[in-house]
Symmetry: C2
Amino acid sequence: MVFVGFPAISRHFCKFLNMSKSALVILAPGAEEMEFIIAADVLRRAGIKVTVAGLNDAEPVKCSRDVQILPDTSLAKVSSDKFDVVVLPGGLGGSNAMAESTVVGEILKSQESSGGLIAAICAAPTVLAKHGIASGKSLTSYPSMKPQLADQYSYVDDKSVVKDGNLITSRGPGTAYEFALKIAEELAGKEKVQEVAKGLLVAYN
Amino acid sequence: MVFVGFPAISRHFCKFLNMSKSALVILAPGAEEMEFIIAADVLRRAGIKVTVAGLNDAEPVKCSRDVQILPDTSLAKVSSDKFDVVVLPGGLGGSNAMAESTVVGEILKSQESSGGLIAAICAAPTVLAKHGIASGKSLTSYPSMKPQLADQYSYVDDKSVVKDGNLITSRGPGTAYEFALKIAEELAGKEKVQEVAKGLLVAYN
């Protein structure tokens, strides 16, 4: 009878651990709204504390297909905070804006030097290139971004999601669930992600 | 040489036709944000004029995983307008709110009687049941909603997307791309959807 309680305690402890994990999702004007929202939603389903930070301020952000999203806060307000993962959604306009942002550059450099996860999808791996992050690592991106990345990185053409050390990258809207589940797996574990994927009706092994 | 111009003219004409197609996507508090945004984004990529209408007003809508989305307008302002498709995203809270709304009921009855498309995903087919829409038709939904639908409809368990006449239904976040592409196919044609799917990196036949 003594052992019966252990799995329950373990689950509660894991849940507590998962709740303590945190993600910063940067939302820039022109972001691809599906890539943004799939990351934020799936990570929250996995029990990760997600902060959606507007690149310029906390006003509604107009995304690539004109959906307007209200961030939780502005990036300036959380730029000194620590997060377990920094997530960069794609979309050409959003990625260009993040590539030009010195605040984003500082956040990524701090995240890299502290050994935290960085995740980028679609056009957003070009943000890493611009800020000199993770040079030499294996990564992927939206196919048309390859010429901007192939010199600086070991470019992978044939995988939906690539993980190299603390860097997770992916290709586009059609790979956004796999991307989000991979980030969640790193922070919340496979068991939790299996449960999340089942609820989403998404295949996951 | 005379014939060379025809395909181009035809394409432009089709493009013009596609642009004239319209979609109303109803955004209720507690909507599943991924299902909402995949529909809105994919339809816009297909050249369809999408109106995102807040169920209660035009203020930011808090979705099921706390992402806040600013609608284009309020449902009250567009409730007399005609749309080629009315799209109901899922999410339990959002679906319950739409099921309780007399305005949603009137819009759906008007859409049904005029022969317009109605599309619902995840928990949202229960909104149709509540308002007495499309009774007897084949449909699907999020699996756990089946008991609320099996008496009134011919329930389909084994397809991601079901089309029966002017009704398109689907199962959940993991089938949301297929759902959106099917709606787009009806309004913009297969050729356009092939192009959209390719850009999304989503499989489409």
